[in-house]
């Protein structure tokens, strides 16, 4: 991953007439595997299409791999692999032929394209089925072919639009494993998904969108640090909780236990200080990692 920042967006707005798909977005995405999360209609696909230069922003600017997709769309697309969410496979071609064709479309010479087609289909687990016609493939196999065509030309950046869409639980797990493996091969990936657990399992950076607005962009570790802390004290739990509330933390009391947070690493220090100030004793203090879904809903509520 030679480039430190793969996506640089500045004050980006895109509308379809009266409908504002993306509103005044500014963010940077580093190399690695990034999750682009949001509910349906949040603007994820619009964002991907802007990155490919297929849409032009109403205002603002964007750089993908150091290129402006509006002025250099072909330069950007030559370095990107794209796996669309929608059906995109010709039923009358074999997997090997189609993936080879996809490589040639990206500028790989024909002979090398054939070789890479076989290797890539092997990587996604379709080596046995590569000479079968795509019309005979199951949904899971088609998703793998879609992934294969996106990576066959050795892109610097891979855009995956809902890659696990339509897959059964086993297929979903296998697809996520494949995406994680791509990261091990130093391929930058941006995964668009509305399934937050998928993002949690695969990504190291998360961009949250809601209604075209940026909720949050940051490392996944940072999100985890914003979890709550379960506290148990010897006595006067209400008093300790009240002291924490006065410092701006939320606290819910159940007997001698209470849940405080969310908060970052300063939360633990505040709990110790509040317990000491209340002349109580600390029995235990356990940080629970908030799920991405909790955080998404919380961010959404706070907007």
């Amino acid at each position: 991953m030679g480039q430190s920042t793969i996506l640089d967006v500045s004050n980006l707005t895109h509308d379809f007439g009266d409908v504002v798909a993306l509103e005044n977005l500014s963010l940077q995405v580093p190399a690695g595997i990034t999750g682009l999360v949001g509910a349906n209609g949040a603007g994820k696909t619009t964002m991907l299409r802007l990155m490919l230069g297929l849409l032009h922003p109403t205002s603002g600017s964007m750089e993908v791999l150091g290129h402006d997709p509006q002025t250099e769309p072909l330069a950007v697309r030559a370095r990107i692999g794209y796996m669309p969410e929608v059906e995109c496979l010709p039923k009358d071609q074999t997997a090997a032929d189609f993936v080879s064709y996809a490589a040639q479309l990206a500028g790989i010479p024909a002979r090398e394209a054939k070789r890479r087609s076989s290797e890539t289909l092997f990587l996604v687990g379709l080596e046995e089925e590569r000479f079968r016609f795509l019309g005979d493939f199951s949904t899971g196999m088609q998703q793998r072919v879609k992934l294969a065509q996106a990576i066959v030309h050795d892109p610097d950046l891979l855009l995956l639009d809902e890659p696990a869409s339509g897959l059964d639980p086993e297929g979903r797990v296998q697809m996520l494993q494949l995406i994680r493996r791509l990261g091990e091969f130093d391929i930058n990936v941006i995964v668009s998904s509305h399934v937050l657990t998928d993002i949690e399992e695969t990504c190291n950076w998360v961009v949250m969108l809601d209604g075209g607005k940026l909720l949050r962009s940051g490392p996944l570790e940072g999100f985890e640090q914003l979890g709550t802390v379960l506290v148990e004290v010897l006595d006067d739990a209400d008093v300790v909780a009240a002291r924490l509330r006065s410092k701006g933390f939320g606290a819910t009391v159940e007997g001698q236990r209470f849940v405080v947070g969310p908060g970052d690493e300063t939360l633990e220090r505040a709990i110790v200080e509040a317990t000491a100030a209340a002349s109580s004793g600390l029995v235990r203090m356990v940080r629970g990692s908030a799920s991405l879904e909790d955080l998404f809903l919380r961010e959404e509520d706070s907007q």
Partner: protein
């Protein structure tokens, strides 16, 4: 017992040459030819294109045989057997069937199956994509017109009483008349089938619309042109199938009068109609695909 090792081949990076947009256009062109001819597709997809190509070549061989057989009886009788210009009608029928198949096949499946999203995520512009499709269409349909004519030309030269080279020398004009006529047929028919294939999302319906417009449509327009209301003669220009024939007849000095000629229009009007249809097709197809991209 030897140790068994499973090697994970992993992912191989690529540092070789990349051909860029020109490579992408070439790939679309080659795929277009394969698709139209059913190559690397299921067997039944090969039947119609290769059947039509075979009929074209066999017909050329049969005409050469007829010329040879009649020439052996009485050389002057050969003048009554159709040659280059006359055979265009026959090859036009074959080509019409072929274009009915090829036009929708080249454009519609990419759209209806969502493959355009793959094309336009690659270094390929809308114009590059369409140009490559047109090139594939012209190559294959042009071959149907030209190859049998070449076979016919060489065959007639081989059986010519004056000898091969003198025949070739006497018929040098064929070398430009046949290509020009072919361009007229392909330009008009191709433009129409591309417009229909760009706006209709079902291959069967697009094929039927094209075939109907070129067969029944021409007849209807010719009938309307014969009516007595003011301006009826202009309807003759809508008999699209007849314009390439008018151009062919002008080149090969044939005497059949088509509806537009009966309505008082000359060959240059037919040339203008072909050009207008082609320009109209370029505008519509580009507009449609720019919206899709």
């Amino acid at each position: 017992m030897t140790d068994q090792v499973i090697f994970d081949r992993g992912y191989r990076t690529y540092d070789g040459p990349r051909t860029g947009p020109s490579g992408a256009r070439k790939a679309v062109y080659k795929d277009g030819i394969r698709r139209v001819l059913g190559l690397r597709r299921k067997a039944w997809l090969k039947i119609i294109p290769w059947g039509l190509l075979s009929v074209g070549l066999i017909a050329a061989a049969v005409f050469i045989g007829i010329h040879w057989a009649i020439g052996n009886i009485e050389e002057s009788l050969r003048e009554g057997v159709p040659t280059y210009g006359g055979l265009f009608d026959f090859y036009s029928a074959i080509s019409l069937l072929f274009m009915t198949l090829a036009g929708p096949l080249l454009l519609i499946p990419d759209r209806s199956r969502g493959v355009l999203s793959i094309y336009f995520s690659r270094p390929l512009t809308v114009d590059g994509y369409l140009t490559s499709k047109v090139a594939a269409f012209v190559t294959v349909v042009g071959a149907i017109y030209i190859v049998p004519q070449i076979v016919l030309h060489i065959g007639l030269a081989l059986i010519a009483s004056e000898g091969f080279l003198p025949y070739m020398g006497d018929n040098l004009d064929i070398l430009w008349k046949v290509p020009v006529t072919t361009i007229a047929f392909i330009a008009l028919n191709g433009a129409i089938v591309f417009v229909l294939s760009a706006v209709i999302d079902r291959t069967g319906i697009a094929a039927a619309a094209f075939f109907g417009l070129l067969t029944a449509g021409g007849g209807i327009a010719a009938r309307v042109a014969e009516a007595s209301f003011p301006g009826a003669r202009w309807a003759s220009l809508l008999a699209f199938d007849q314009h390439p024939r008018i151009i062919r007849d002008a080149l090969f000095e044939d005497t059949v009068e088509y509806a537009a000629e009966q309505a008082g229009f000359g060959v240059w009007t037919s040339v203008a109609v072909v050009l207008v249809v082609v320009v109209f097709a370029i505008v519509i197809v580009r507009w449609r695909y720019r919206r899709l991209a």
